[in-house]
Structures are given as C-alpha cells and as structure tokens.
C-alpha cells in the first residue's frame, strides 16, 4: 500500500511543484525522457556484448564453479552465493553488472531474497574502477594513494549490508 503510493505521489508532487515554479512540465518531461532513451541506446551495444559473454559463461558451467569456489567466504559474510558473479563484475563494468544482475533477478524472481539482495546491491554500489579512471584520468593524477582501497571497501561493505537490510525489511 505504502510503496504503491510512492510512485504516483512523487510524480504528482514533482509536477505540481514544478508547475507552481512556472516550469513547462510537459516539455521538461519529454526532454528528460529523450535523455533516458539515449541512455538505453548507449547501453544496448555493451549489453549485447556482455550478456553474450555471461550466457556463454553460464552455459559452460564456469559461473557455478565460481559460485562454488566463493560460497564458503560469501556464506560467512551472510551474502547469497548466487550473487558471486555480480560482486565480481560490479567494480569493473556498469552494463556488465546490469546484465548479470537482471539475469539473477529473472532467474530467482524479483521478490525472492536473492532477487532483492541483487537489486539492492545494484542500486547501492557504483562502477568503482570506471569512476576512478574517469576522474583521475581527466585531471592527470598518476598516484591514486588510498582512493582505490577506500572505494573498494565501500563496495564490500555495501554487498554485506545489502544482504542484511533485505533480511531486516522482508
């Protein structure tokens, strides 16, 4: 009930507030929607490449081998071992993580524990190495000092806490 209210409430509140501020709400909506379409168009080519690779890896049995390998560690951390591949690819590739994550969600169900943990992991972490490369590359930094270990610890804590919060809320 509460969550089914969130979406219409946000949309309605934003539209009313913006209209009050004399914003052309409809034009803004369509401009933004066009940006969203561009995002989809931009992620489709890498998604084709990466989902092909992920499907091949899964069919070869390599993914379940990786899962088996990581299961003891992940179980100890309270993380569902089925998310092993996602954890592996998350810091390197955003579309790769989306590819793997949506596969897991579709396989185990959006409302399953595994599906929810996957969604929370996807929603609360970023493509760390990409961000580091973009920012430090743009300003010509060679020595990154503690940036990489700190950002990766944030990711690791995110993966662990994702499993905990899903258990708490559902």
């Amino acid at each position: 009930m509460l969550y089914s209210l969130i979406v219409p409430l946000i949309i309605c509140a934003v539209a009313v507030f913006a209209l009050h501020k004399r914003v052309d709400v409809f034009a803004a909506l369509t401009t933004g929607a066009k940006d969203g379409l561009n995002v989809i168009i931009r992620i489709l080519p890498p998604l084709v490449a990466l989902l092909t690779a992920v499907y091949m890896l899964r069919a070869s049995g390599a993914l379940s081998a990786l899962e088996n390998l990581l299961t003891p560690v992940l179980v100890r951390l309270g993380i569902p071992p089925e998310t092993a591949t996602l954890i592996f690819i998350r810091p390197f590739s955003g579309s790769g993580a989306l590819a793997v994550g949506s596969e897991i969600i579709n396989t185990y169900g959006a409302d399953s524990h595994i599906g929810r943990v996957t969604a929370v992991m996807l929603g609360s972490t970023e493509t760390t190495f990409y961000i580091i490369a973009v920012y430090f590359g743009a300003v010509g930094i060679k020595k990154t000092r503690h940036a990489i270990p700190s950002a990766l610890s944030a990711d690791l804590v995110g993966f662990i806490v994702a499993s905990i919060t899903v258990r708490l809320f559902f």
């Binding site: 933004g32 995002v39 890896l57 070869s60 949506s102 503690h146």
Partner: protein, 197 residues
Amino acid sequence: MAMAWIWTAMIAFSVIFGLLSGNIDAVGASALDGAAAAVTLCIAICGATMLWSGIMEIMRQAGLAQKLSKSFRPVLNKLFPQTRENEDAMEALSANVSANLLGLGNAATPLGIRAASEMAKMTKRKTASDDLCMLVILNSASIQLIPATVAAVRASAGASAPFDILPAVWITSVTSLVAGITVSKLLRRFSKRGDRD
C-alpha cells in the same frame, strides 16, 4: 582497453571451460540467446527509464538540484577541508553531489570533473590530494535517491512493488559511503609519504 581484456577473457574462459566440462554445445547455443536477451532487457526497462529521466529533468528545471546543493554545503565543507575556501570547486562539487542524488549521471560527471580539476590545480602534483580521493570515493558510492534502472528491471521481472527496496537501498548506500570515508581517513595517515613526488 580494460574491457577488451575482460570481455575476451570471459569468452575464452567459457570456451575452455565448456570444452573441459563437455558443455561446449550449450555454450554455442547460448551465445546468440545472450545477445537477444540484451535487446529484450533494454526494451523491458526502456519505458520506465525514460519516465524517470523525465521526472528528474522536471525536478532539475524546478530548481530542486540547486536546493539540494545548498543543503549539502555544510557536510561537504567538513569532508573537503583543503578545498573549502575555493568557491568554484565547492559549487561544482555540491552540484555534482545533488546531480548524483537525482540520478542525473550525465550531468554529474562533468560537474565532478570540474571540481576535480580545481582541486588538482590547488596541489599542482601528479599525486591525489586527500580531497581528490574523497571526491572519487563520494562518486564511486552510489547515492541516488531513486534507483530507477534497478526498479525498472524489477518491474519487468514481475515484482509486486518494484520500489519496495528503496529503504534497503538508502541504508545500504549510506552505510557503504560511511565505510568508504572511514577507511580513507584511516588510510590517509599511512599514505602521507606519497604526498610528495
């Protein structure tokens, strides 16, 4: 180039593993399935992604991003003590944070880079300053209010309430960001020597 290596390794690994495990037939069949699944996924999440991008654009035009920026200044001043006095950098930085919060990735990155180049100018070194590291940590922790793409994926997979993960996502994001900041504050003492090059 990193992705070239990762992707080739994934393909090579699945061929080798498929040959060894006798699953090579399935590997061949699944390659095209994967490519088709990418298109299915994009179509499935396209509508919701476009809608949320539109809503976020309305928020931006209504000045919500600037309001957010202002409210974050006190926190950012504490997190970025070396940059605090540099008005241009702090303005770009708070705009970067609020764009991230609203999920406006396209707008966030150029703003963040503007803040980063101001910070780099202040040190004039090839070594990252504490503040520059903090900027990267802040951006590599996902802090968006509405994870629209994930919700779209959940909706397309038949979730009863795609947004019911919001509180869990918020708590997880904040915890992981706090962890990143804490680790960086601990580590910066040990990496002080690298400050001079």
